[in-house]
């Protein structure tokens, strides 16, 4: 018999109190709390998810229905001057082993912009702990209200691999500009920042050393050149048509923790992640696609103990393939449906993973190197401040599953596919 996982923990109790406080703060009619003539605004959201899988685990013990999927944020935005906005978000997030940071200062940024030429051109600068502008959804990925489905396409927005903290915000600054001409709108952002790649699974992801039984985790610190990022977009008719190009470039030096130097020497990882995005929005339906690849280039790290990993040609230089195609249909303004096909190939020259599996000496089965996710979902905003969303996923391949939650992924018995139902209830003000 299956049981629902309801382990009482302090973090959960704190989050429930936080959630109740949000509800009390906010009468149903309000969309935000406003103070000082609207110069100070407070926003919040609280979302609780439930996840069920037939094989493997996603966000906790999902084979027994996991409730380890909780996202709550409180945002304050202050307009000190008409064009100077300071905003910060406190966030509590729990997605099982994929996010164990709990409560955090998610972003805290100051933004100053100057309109020029009768406001058709706007130039601006933003600094602090800034949100990372990447693709169509990264900037606001914690809020189910801004997501097409409960879970974003995992080929591009990695939530299960514990990379969310490293992907969502970084400490630094950016310059941006946008230009409007008739029905056409162009914009660009350029960012240089210190990524939060010491969090979650980011270090393991960048060093490329998998977390395997019998090997210590690749703990150490990453430093070196700041992350560089660029994003450019074109919008037609107020966003009816959207084209976007984003690119992240990382060049990070890894210094192994002293106790681990027998396993991992210092090394360097270079990663480039370009992403092309397109969207068309009609009155009743939207069509969206994003395509990108992660190109990684590693040197160093080598010791006798890990020579078998470093010996793999794909470990040193590898290029993935990441894309999805998605259709949304709005039956009513409150009730939407989504259908999506989402594909991740860890090596685009070996889409079936057979060569990668062979190179690992059979330590990793072929299905560890790809994931093809067919998703059907619905979202229903049954009251102004409440949203209920649910997705069904059929996933062939285990490439984006978390190894901490699924330690047996590489065993010969591990299923190459799984089904998942994930549901989320959210309140916002």
């Amino acid at each position: 018999m299956r049981s629902i996982n309801l382990k009482p923990r302090f973090g959960k109790a704190a989050s429930m109190i936080f959630c109740s406080a949000l509800v009390l703060l906010s009468p149903m009619k309000a969309s935000a709390k406003e103070f000082f003539d609207g110069n100070v605004k407070v926003y919040g959201f609280a979302s609780q998810g439930a996840t069920y899988t037939d094989h493997h685990q996603v966000f906790g013990t999902s084979r027994d229905v996991s409730l380890d999927f909780r996202e709550m944020g409180l945002i304050t935005s202050v307009k000190l001057l008409p064009n100077l906005l300071i905003s910060a978000q406190g966030l509590y997030r729990d997605t099982g082993a994929s996010d164990t940071q709990g409560t955090r200062l998610d972003f805290a940024q100051a933004d100053y912009s100057v309109p020029l030429f009768d406001s058709s051109l706007v130039l601006g600068a933003r600094g602090g702990r800034v949100k990372i502008p990447f693709g169509l959804y990264n900037d606001t990925r914690d809020v189910v209200w801004t997501r097409p489905s409960v879970l974003l396409p995992q080929s591009i927005y990695f939530d299960t691999l514990a990379l969310r903290q490293a992907m969502i915000a970084a400490d630094g600054g950016m310059l941006y500009g946008r230009y409007t001409h008739g029905e056409h709108r162009f914009g660009w952002e350029f960012m240089a920042a210190e990524p939060q790649d010491s969090t979650g699974g980011a270090t393991g992801f960048l060093t490329g050393i998998p977390h395997m039984p019998g090997l210590p985790k690749s703990e150490g610190s990453l430093g070196g050149r700041p992350m560089l990022l660029g994003r450019a977009f074109y919008e037609w008719m107020g966003g009816r048509g959207k084209l976007m190009f984003s690119i992240v470039d990382l060049d990070r030096d890894f210094s192994a923790s002293p106790g681990l130097s027998a396993f991992y020497q210092n090394g360097n990882t270079k990663v480039t992640y370009p992403l092309f995005s397109a969207q068309y929005n009609a009155e009743k339906w939207s069509l969206t696609a994003e395509y990108g690849w992660i190109s990684s280039d590693r040197s160093g790290y080598s010791t006798a103990n890990t020579a078998f990993i470093q010996g793999l040609p794909t470990w040193k230089n590898n290029t993935s393939e990441n894309f999805y195609v998605q259709g949304e249909y709005r039956f009513t303004p409150e009730f939407w449906a989504v259908l999506r096909y989402d594909v991740l190939h860890l090596n685009r020259d070996d889409r079936g993973g057979r060569e990668m599996s062979r190179l690992s000496g059979g330590l990793a089965p072929a299905h560890r190197f790809y994931a093809r996710d067919l998703t059907a979902g619905v979202r229903w905003s049954f009251a102004r401040n409440f949203l209920l969303a649910s997705d069904y996923h059929y996933v062939n391949g285990t490439a984006w599953l978390n190894e901490s939650e699924n330690p047996n992924l590489s065993s010969p018995e591990a299923s190459s596919h799984f089904s998942m139902v994930t549901t989320m209830l959210s309140f916002r003000f």
């Binding site: 009619k29 003539d37 008409p82 064009n83 309109p115 801004t146 008719m237 107020g238 303004p333």
Partner: protein, 120 residues
């Protein structure tokens, strides 16, 4: 009774939606500037004073017609753009009013305000 209700509805449908502002200066604005203002991407008037934007709820018939007829967009596009600004901390949402009467009184009493109403 049925006839009078029907004619009232028809009358309401015929009413033109128009911009409303506290200074009467918005008539000269090109539509792309009005769109940028209601998408909350411009925060100051040319003289540097703050722009205060007022909107009706997403499902209000006048809001739907304002979005489609004046801005040339669908209400879900506005909501999506505001949510992206709010939850990325890069902007704020407009101030929500619950009725056309409240819209008129808030816009008239707030310096630098802009909203919309039905032409009578």
């Amino acid at each position: 009774m049925a006839i009078s209700l029907a004619s009232l509805t028809a009358q309401a449908d015929d009413a033109k939606v128009r911009l409303l502002d506290s200074s009467g200066n918005t008539k000269q604005l090109p539509v792309e500037t009005v769109r940028e203002i209601f998408f909350m991407r411009l925060s100051s008037w040319p003289d540097g004073s703050p722009i205060r934007v007022f909107v009706l709820p997403d499902d209000h018939p006048l809001h739907i017609r304002f979005a489609k007829e004046i801005l040339g967009v669908y209400p879900f596009q506005l909501r999506s753009a505001w949510d992206r600004l709010v939850f990325s901390g890069t902007g704020v949402s407009p101030t929500l009013v619950e009725s056309v009467e409240e819209m008129r009184s808030r816009v008239e009493s707030t310096p630098g305000a802009i909203g919309y109403t039905d032409k009578q």
